[in-house]
């Protein structure tokens, strides 16, 4: 995909509309509440905490902000047991040893005193920067985007650590000193709520619950992400997905799955949603046998025909075309 030629200064966005437009130019369609929250998070330099069902596009937000601002995306995938040496920094011990040996071999070690020697060993040369330090110590003019993904998978201890970093945007390495972010990164934290994120961390953040998009918005998203799909098909798929989500499934399909489904239908040559195509490609949308059975039981034919009617009604009122949705493509 084309990167926008002129990166935007993220800290200088002046209105919610700028955010909406900026994200839209990078193929993401935020609703107004999300755009407002992102705007506030950029202006107030506060981390953004996104929660929501899996598959509603939480992680995508960070990627799109990075594309939009032209900054680096630094991703920290959390997992259980993650600790400072994997998230912040680590010394490159092997190289330190080698260096020591080399100094010994060349006789330099004998001529330097101990303080100098350890100063040399514990210098930035031997520091391995992990994502958090990378984001804080970044010296580039455009702020980096730090994505702390699935923070609920890490343990509480790590969260406390994250809190420390995010409150001052500073990291202290005892042997060297303190790194302070000249240009604080834009921080996006996502959580799937397998456990509660600690209140202290929540207090630092602006919170937003990401919902499944409305059928109209979802049709636009499909068109944006899979331009080869016809407008009619996109609308029908979006309406069908909305209906399927309301059936009460184990795992309601996310936006990514709907896009996959639309692509699959398109590949099979359908310009419109029909029952045969829909039941053949249902596997792109539903990943549990029970869910599939439930949808088939619930009468897929009806869902398909209703989606068709809804799409026709929508196209008569003309909504996709009127949106400047594909400006960035």
């Amino acid at each position: 995909m084309l990167k926008p030629m002129s990166a935007v200064d993220l800290r200088a966005v002046s209105s919610v509309e700028d955010v909406s437009q900026g994200l839209r130019d990078n193929s993401y369609l935020p609703d107004e509440a999300l755009a407002t929250t992102i705007y506030l998070s950029l202006r107030l330099k506060r981390p953004l905490l996104l929660e929501g069902e899996p598959g509603v596009g939480k992680t995508e937000v960070a990627k799109v902000i990075a594309d939009w601002g032209g900054g680096r995306l630094i991703r920290l995938q959390c997992y259980e047991g993650i600790d400072a040496s994997q998230a912040v920094y680590e010394w490159d011990y092997a190289r330190q040893l080698m260096h020591l040996r080399a100094m010994e071999a060349t006789g330099k070690a004998r001529s330097t005193n101990e303080a100098e020697l350890s100063g040399e060993l514990y210098s930035e040369r031997f520091l391995v920067r992990r994502p958090l330090l990378e984001a804080i110590a970044s010296t580039s003019g455009t702020p980096a985007v730090l994505l702390v993904d699935e923070v609920d998978r890490s343990d509480d201890e790590f969260e406390a650590f994250l809190l420390e970093v995010l409150s001052d945007y500073a990291i202290t390495v005892p042997e060297i000193g303190t790194f302070t972010a000249g240009n604080p990164p834009v921080v996006v934290i996502t959580s799937n709520r397998t456990r509660d994120v600690h209140d202290a961390l929540k207090r630092r953040c602006l919170y937003h619950w990401v919902e499944h998009p409305s059928a109209q918005r979802e049709a636009q998203i499909i068109r944006l992400r899979a331009p080869e799909v016809t407008e009619t098909l996109a609308r029908e798929v979006a309406h069908a997905a909305e209906a399927i989500r309301s059936v009460g499934l184990y795992k309601p399909p996310g936006v990514a799955e709907t896009i996959d489904w639309a692509r699959a239908l398109n590949l099979l040559g359908g310009a419109q949603l029909d029952l045969a195509g829909a039941s053949a490609t249902l596997g792109a949308l539903l990943k549990y046998r029970e869910d599939r059975d439930r949808v088939l039981e619930h009468d897929l034919a009806e869902i398909v025909s209703d989606a068709g009617t809804a799409a026709v009604r929508e196209s008569e009122s003309g909504s996709i075309g009127s949106e400047p949705a594909s400006a960035g493509l």
Binding site: S15, V16, E32, A33, T36, T37, Y39, L40, S41, R43, L44, R46, E51, P54, Y79, E80, G81, I82, D83, S85, E90, W91, Y93, A94, Q96, L97, L100, R101, E104, S118, D152, R153, D155, D156, N192, R193, T194, R195, D196, D199, K202, R203, R204, L206, Y207, H208, W209, Y250, E290
Partner: protein
Amino acid sequence: MSNQSLSGVADPIDVAVGFASALRRAGLEVPLASTLLYAQALSVCDVSSRSSLYTAGRCALVHCIEDVDVYDAVFGSYWMGEALKIAGPTTPLSIPLMLNIDDGDDDHSGDEEQPDSNADVMTVRYSATETLATKDFADYSDEELEEARRLMSRLRFGGPLRPSRRLAPARTCSGHLDMRRTVRAAMRAGGEAVRIERRVNSFRPRRLVLLLDVSGSMERYARALLRLLHAAVTGRSRVEAFALGTRLTRLTRELSSRDPDRAMRAASDSVLDWSGGTRLGAGLGCFNDEWGCRGMARGAVVVILSDGWDRGDPHDMSEQMQRLARVAHRVVWVNPLKASVGYAPLARGMAAALPYVDDFVEGHNLDSLERLAELVLTNSTNSRSSLTILGAGVPEVPAVGVRP
């Protein structure tokens, strides 16, 4: 609360403080830091637009999706002058309410489901003359309940361990190379790596999830068992507690207060459906959807405290139990009625659930809870191979299949 508007001269701090205290009156916890954040947000966003005024407050003052309903109501009343209507400071995870009181009707539906069972079993099960083991919770007075709580707080739920991703220094010479410690030691030995240090995966207790049935038929036990939940939640980390009734209520937060009186009060208040009807299958489904299958029950020990009396469809029950059993490490069912003489798991829900239960134990008195704590503590392996049945003589247990 009067209708207010942000005129150009209003100080955002005053506005923020006013609105935050309105939220606090409605039962939300709003820390001072969030109020300040809200004030900052107001000063940079366009407050003349209703939607950005709304979102600014929502993202700064609300910290979980459950609180959004309260926020919406207060927002409406504070800024728009609408009448304040708040159902209660609880979660919107409701399932349709069934206004059935367990009485008479129970026997009736019991007969329906078990036409071939002799009437004796049903009478024993629901009559007041149930012969339970001594010191049955059902016979406790308030003082005895308090005493029981004190005793329960001594129970320790350690829980089976599982390998953690966290690495700890190893004494043996196997495991990952620990460069950090190796090099530190080498520095002390003049740059000579005399000893190679290692790290191995450590162990930590599995998450413990407690689901307490608070429906009418469990009434006599639920209040005592709630004290067990409190003891478990405050006793160790990674414990989650829920109340299952006509709706699902998460109690972890309420019970995490160390002050037992406060915890009990908070928990009792947040459960809106004490002694309501039972739809265990639907409640479990709700738990699976909202929490369990998303990660909370994954690899966890799930303890269900219920008499298994379910008015919903038994297919629902077995389907939801199957889902739960697939993600959980171990499913323990604590049934206070199990101790009664001649008890057999005939209640539809219980019979449907049993094939997916790893341990089926009684929980009618302190002794049995102690055994439960031991069980949760010790049983760490072979979870899927056999069904443990603890407790007094169980003459016959029909429909106990070994899980596939």
